[in-house]
């Protein structure tokens, strides 16, 4: 057991701090020009895809250094490391693990340069939690697949250049009939219909495929290996969703809110139930952070992220709900109005449902870890 950082790691932390001191204005600008410049600077330091191998264009940094980098960035509320969120979080890692040399060459540097943008085509109207029942068909025709079907809830499909897409190549085998295709979004036959989320913003989309022709070389992994690819990708997605640093920032803001609010005529922070709730949040976020470190340690020993990531996804889901409720409690009657906290209390549901609902995480733990019979 050793939670200390080595001298090199501490030196790296200082380097990150120095960089932020010099390059990140306060308050952080949100203009597209600033983001472009920011991404370019980070790229030049090889901090985008920092833990990817050097031969793949990454920074060759250790997982620990990447943790330090993300923690420091989040402390200063810096914009994300690179803007191709899904490309960096799971498409890239899946390419590194399962991709051919040609595919890696073709896609990885664009992801790192933030010049590509990926979206993810798993869910279908009749296949959500039961993802393996997906029906979008891909039929082989010479050197191409012909894809027909529909995806739904596809985030960022409108802006994306590529879709990381699951299709069915074989109907007789539930898991073994799934294949992963990498498809350009401007391929003829793809149609995108935005769906407004409950806040009235275009949050996600329906994506229709009609005789979409995809070269066989765009297949990731072998035919029928899509389930294996996606299990790894989902574990990466879940460990990402669960990063505690974002929750720490949320708690900081919530504490600020409480500090400046009154409850029943008294400072909210003097209310014992408010104090206790805040301390419980602090504790649960710390548990998430340490669970994350434990996963990291396992990865350092060579085990890729797996079902254990469902732990933090569940912790985060429960925390989002309780933190939103406390913010409304502290706001008092003003919680009836629209406002940033009120809106957050509506929109957190996206993170709780996306990437697999809490019930599905409980099934994963119950069945894959505890060995209970499948339902």
């Amino acid at each position: 057991m050793d939670f200390s950082f080595s001298t090199e790691e501490e030196a790296f932390r200082q380097e990150v701090r120095g960089f932020l001191e010099e390059n990140l204005p306060d308050p952080v600008p949100t203009t597209p020009e600033f983001l472009r410049e920011w991404n370019a600077k980070l790229r030049a330091k090889r901090w985008v895809g920092f833990a990817w191998p050097k031969e793949e264009g990454g920074g060759g940094g250790s997982l620990i250094e990447q943790y330090i980098l993300k923690e420091e960035m989040s402390l200063r509320r810096a914009p994300p490391l690179g803007s191709d969120f899904m490309g960096l979080a799971w498409v890239g890692p899946a390419l590194i693990r399962h991709g051919s040399e040609a595919q890696k060459k073709r896609f990885l540097s664009d992801i790192l340069d933030s010049s590509s943008l990926w979206c993810t085509g798993y869910s279908e109207p009749d296949s959500g939690s039961d993802l393996a029942s997906l029906k979008t068909r891909a039929v082989r025709d010479g050197d191409e697949y012909v894809v027909n079907g529909q995806k739904i809830w596809t985030s960022a499909a409108k802006q994306a250049k590529w879709i990381f897409n699951l299709v069915r190549t074989e109907s007789s085998s539930r898991y073994g009939g799934i294949t992963c295709l990498l498809i350009p979004m401007d391929t003829p036959g793809i149609e995108i219909h935005p769906i407004d989320n409950l806040s009235g913003r275009p949050g996600f989309n329906e994506v229709f495929f009609t005789d979409v022709r995809v070269p066989v070389e765009n297949r990731l992994g072998k035919e029928g290996e899509g389930w294996r690819v996606v299990m790894g990708a989902l574990a990466n997605e879940r460990s990402g969703i669960s990063e505690s640093t974002e929750m720490t920032r949320k708690l900081d803001s919530l504490i600020e809110l409480a500090r400046n609010s009154r409850k029943a005529g008294r400072p909210a922070l003097e209310d014992t139930s408010v104090r206790r709730e805040l301390a419980a949040f602090d504790t649960r976020i710390e548990a998430m952070r340490l669970n994350g470190m434990r996963n990291l340690s396992r990865q350092l020993k060579g085990d890729p992220p797996s079902s254990e990531t469902s732990i933090n996804k569940l912790l985060r889901g429960a925390l989002e709900i309780r933190m939103a409720e406390l913010s409304l409690e502290v706001l008092g009657s003003a919680s009836q109005l629209e406002g940033p906290w009120q809106n957050a209390a509506l929109s957190f549901h996206g993170t709780v449902i996306g990437g697999g609902t809490p019930n599905i995480q409980r099934n994963i733990i119950g069945e894959r870890i505890l060995g209970l019979p499948k339902d």
Binding site: R294, I365, L370, L372
Partner: protein, 375 residues
């Protein structure tokens, strides 16, 4: 950074496991729980021979000079077995004497604690039920260079078994004007009176003090200078208790999972139903998160003492809530047999009831977490 136990610690765990499986299976636990001693002197002697009573004491006084992380390994296993013994009390007494005592005092008391010939405990709680220096209202009446102690200490773990009682008392009005005396069993005017504990594998009772004289050579550290030492002992108590909670909670989970795999209703093992599977998954989340919090705290005690108190409070607050729920759900998921004396799950419920308030309940520890965060 390495979130995991070392090879030697895994070895230690296997040895302890073997010892407990052989010497103290559940029938033996049940027998000891009904005995008047409450523990087995024979087993206690063996623990001493295996070096586990002086695990953290200095080598010069018969100890093995290991760390709190090693102690966590030991206590997780004793907790898993609900091993009835004054191990935590004796460990705390030894660590307080090693921490605060003079060389002369260490030489007088530590070898006996390490070789199993003497049992120690700490008598900290009074009528006001306030934990820590502020709760110490028992005043030492000066007589020459000694003090006379009169009063009562409540809920003293292993009070009747102990040969040494560590008794904190007040020597002045400032909150931190605390001294700690070592009162030996045969001291005039001191006596322990047992009370029935809700968990019969844990013994407790009242320490009665009637004009008990304590000379300067019985005081740990300078008079009025032991406040910090007292806080530290209580922190360590909370840490030790959490380690036992992890083992016990994990055992309760395992027992219930096994039951859910084997008991059939409606043509299925009940673990097939989500009303059973999901609470078990939640128990798993709680146990794993508690491990993360506690391992960090145990590491911090030795390696980063400044962050240790808050880290321990997070773990104890979390443990109190989590174990309470695990105890309750464990019974409920067993159905009728869960309510019998025959099934072991009730023993864990009783342990959870004992553990929730010991060394501070969730409210107490969340309040400390809130303070550490500046709330």
């Amino acid at each position: 950074m390495n979130f995991g136990f070392e090879e030697e610690q895994e070895l230690l765990r296997r040895e302890i496991r073997k010892f407990l499986d052989e010497q103290c299976p559940m029938e033996e636990v049940r027998r000891l729980a009904q005995s008047s001693d409450g523990y087995s002197r024979e087993q206690w002697k063996q623990l001493a021979e295996l070096g586990w009573l002086g695990l953290m004491l200095p080598e010069a006084y018969g100890g093995a000079e290991l760390t709190w992380v090693d102690a966590v390994v030991l206590l997780e296993e004793t907790g898993r077995s609900l091993f009835p013994s004054p191990l935590i009390s004796t460990t705390l007494a030894g660590s307080a004497i090693a921490d605060l005592g003079s060389e002369d005092q260490k030489g007088r008391w530590l070898p006996g604690l390490a070789d199993g010939s003497r049992i120690g405990t700490i008598a900290f709680l009074e009528d006001n039920d306030v934990l820590g220096p502020a709760g110490i209202q028992l005043r030492g009446r000066p007589r020459g260079d000694a003090f006379l102690l009169s009063g009562e200490k409540r809920l003293v773990a292993d009070v009747e078994q102990a040969d040494l009682w560590l008794v904190p008392f007040r020597v002045g009005d400032p909150e931190d004007a605390i001294a700690i005396a070592v009162v030996e069993r045969d001291a005039d005017g001191a006596s322990g009176r047992p009370l029935p504990s809700i968990d019969r594998t844990k013994r407790t009772g009242t320490l009665q003090l009637d004009e008990v004289p304590v000379g300067p050579d019985a005081l740990l550290g300078p008079p009025a200078g032991a406040s910090l030492g007292l806080s530290r002992v209580l922190d360590r108590g909370a840490l030790a208790l959490c380690a036992e909670v992890i083992g016990a909670a994990e055992a309760a989970l395992r027992i219930t999972v096994e039951f859910a795999k084997q008991r059939e209703q409606f043509g299925h093992p009940i673990g097939h139903f989500q009303g059973v599977k999901h609470p078990l998954a939640e128990m798993y989340v709680e146990v794993e998160s508690l491990k993360s919090l506690l391992y960090y705290a145990a590491w911090a005690i030795d390696e980063d003492p400044e962050v240790a108190p808050a880290a321990i409070s997070r773990a104890k607050a979390y443990a109190a809530d989590a174990f309470t729920r695990i105890g309750i759900d464990g019974i409920q998921l067993h159905g009728g047999v869960g309510y019998t004396l025959e099934y072991d799950i009730q023993l864990y419920l009783k342990r959870s009831k004992w553990a929730r308030s010991m060394y501070g309940d969730a409210d107490y520890h969340y309040d400390r977490v809130a303070r550490a965060r500046g709330l």
